[in-house]
Amino acid sequence: MFETLIFVLDSTARLSTPLLLAALAGLYSERSGIFDIGLEGKMLGAAFAAGTAAALSGSAWTGLGAGILVSVALALVHGFACITNRGNQIVSGVAINFLAMGLTALLGQAWFGQGGRTPSVTGDARFGDVTWPFAAELRDVPVIGGLYSELLSGHNILVYAAFLAVPFSWWVLYRTRFGLRLRAVGENPGAVDTAGISVTWLRYRAVICTGILCGFAGTYLSIGQSASFIANMTAGKGFIALAALIFAKWKPVPVMFACLLFGFLDAVAIRLQGQQVPGIGEVPVQAIQALPYILTVVLLAGFIGKAVPPRAGGTAYVKERS
């Protein structure tokens, strides 16, 4: 029983990581007033770039760099459309998702000819698991041993980075001048503009932050969790991350708990596949898979508290009406 619990929690950590990175990514953009339903596309683009670069260079860090680069480039397209051209933010996000989905599959097949996969990588080209000191020695100690050597130790560095990004994002958003301005521009860009701060530049920096974090998320998928990029490997994770962001009411620490919850549901769904649960019988896996989405809809409906998006979210800032 305890072993099962540790096992489920361990996979929860692994499955939550991409959600957490992507949801935190979305946090920066959306708090600055730029809705981003293109998290999925940026992750996918980054995953492909990371898989490709790691396979060609043999270095996981080069992969991460390439992933971030591509993700930031896609974020800048979103910025160019929404900030500079005042285009519809939802439409732009949809476009980026399709662009990434199509381009990764197309280029993957054209370059490597493996049905959209990138070549498998091993060793230094992947982010390997980091074993904490004394993990092996402590393994047999009851309770603590399992927690320490299975749950805490033995993840790759991006998992730890994701969880460290939570306090970091909190600090950036709530304890720095940049964060204060970023939140302000998402609520009342007019006031920020009056204070002599460029709304455009601030929002561009916010979408770049989003790009960087999505780059981490995508890289984790292709060369952290797996050993290669597979066509459409994000499989809706960007949207679950978006759901988590809304579920957490656009706040960094609740974002982590929402992602852990959704990751946990995913882990449970995998664990319960085809198993009998005493008293209930076989739980349909599809029901658990749909639960994050259902929960988010229920939350949005205002039945569990109220999710109020940033006030200026979704609208382009027009300095002067002509």
Partner: protein
């Protein structure tokens, strides 16, 4: 913003054309990037989609799907709503079609089944759009987010239904039994004498799609409801002031939108597959977004855009055969680029055009 300063033909003709041209130009660059000749690719594409009767048939078959999903997105646009849930609504629409066909196909001819199938498709599609609509109208939850969530919920629900309840007895395939002749629409070449589309599955639903275009045009531009929808879309505050109920408009528009998306299943399920199967929508719902944007949310524009995307789908299959490096994923790229340039970057060329036509207008007009 700065509307009304450009001649109408520039606003409605030249600018959209420039946007679409930009999208295809970038697509051409992508083809160059993977080392193929874009001009050759276009030749193969056009020949594959329009060169033979069968190609035309397939083009029209795909276009039928896109007309329905495009109209679904467009009608919501007119009310200022963005329905991204066409995918899920069409999926559920398939359930409605399948239930009607499974119940009736052994007893009555297809033209008796059809009204029930249409009703089933529209009702199930509309029902799937109803919850997001009512949540938007009553609780203020954004319809974009809820419809995205409903796409995923639909996918899970349909897998569950097909695996556990609807699949054939003794079969592991997640699909229903194949419909008998009472659940199959006739091919278009059997309905329209003198036409021949080879083995292409284009069928009676193409005519239904054209009828739906006409109906949408009448509803949006020739009825009081349509006027209210457009007013609400243009300015919700003014609409409320004029006594238009936001609740009613939001819900009614989303019901029509979901119903239209659901109708897509008539073509795919009753017209071609003759059984309900997993993931039959396969992105057609999302293509509707590109089609609606490209067709400027007008039924005539949508028919053209749908045929163009039909050509891309059919010609793309041919292209993947002739030039194996250009897989059908190319269509998804083009779709993304069209949405980007015709949608999000809609006004990119406006400043330049304003400058050009500003100069032209400043010149003394020729003797009038």
């Amino acid at each position: 913003m700065t509307a009304g300063q450009l001649p109408r033909w520039v606003d409605y003709g030249l600018m959209p054309a420039l946007n679409v041209a930009a999208a295809f130009l970038v697509s051409g660059l992508v083809v160059l990037l993977i080392g193929e000749n874009p001009v050759e690719a276009v030749k193969v594409l056009v020949w594959g989609s329009l060169g033979r009767n069968e190609g035309i048939g397939f083009t029209l078959f795909y276009a039928t799907n896109f007309i329905f999903t495009g109209l679904a997105v467009a009608i919501a646009f007119h009310a200022g709503l963005f329905n991204i849930g066409g995918e899920g609504q069409a999926y559920l629409g398939g359930l409605g079609v399948a239930l009607a066909c499974l119940a009736l196909d052994r007893y009555v001819p297809w033209w008796v089944t059809l009204p029930f199938a249409v009703l089933g498709a529209a009702a199930f599609g509309a029902a799937w759009a109803f919850i997001p609509a009512i949540l938007q109208a009553k609780r203020g939850s954004h319809v974009v987010i809820t419809t995205i969530m409903f796409n995923f919920i639909a996918a899970s629900l349909m897998v569950y239904l097909l695996v556990n309840l609807l699949s054939k007895r003794g079969s592991m395939q997640p699909e229903t039994r194949t419909f008998e002749s009472g659940g199959r629409l006739p091919l278009l070449q059997d309905v329209l004498p003198g036409t021949d589309f080879g083995s292409a599955p284009v069928n009676f639903s193409f005519l239904l799609a054209l009828a739906a275009c006409l109906l949408v045009w009448i509803v949006v531009w020739r009825t009081r409801l349509g006027y209210e929808i457009r007013t609400f879309g243009a300015n919700p505050v003014a609409a409320v002031y004029a006594g238009i109920s936001p609740l009613r408009i939001t819900v009614v528009t989303m019901l029509m939108s979901g119903g239209l998306a659901g109708m897509m299943a008539i073509n795919e399920i009753m017209g071609s597959q003759h059984r309900l199967l997993i993931e039959f929508v396969s992105g057609y719902g999302f293509v509707g977004i590109a089609v609606a944007l490209m067709g400027r949310a007008h039924p005539v524009g949508i028919v053209f855009a749908a045929v163009l995307f039909g050509m891309l789908y059919q010609g793309g299959a041919e292209l993947a055969f002739e030039m194996p490096t250009i897989t059908r994923d190319m269509i998804v790229v083009i779709q993304g680029l069209v949405i980007l340039f015709a949608g999000a970057l809609e006004h990119m060329f406006r400043p330049a055009l304003l400058r050009i036509f500003g100069v032209l207008a400043a010149r003394p007009a020729p003797a009038a």
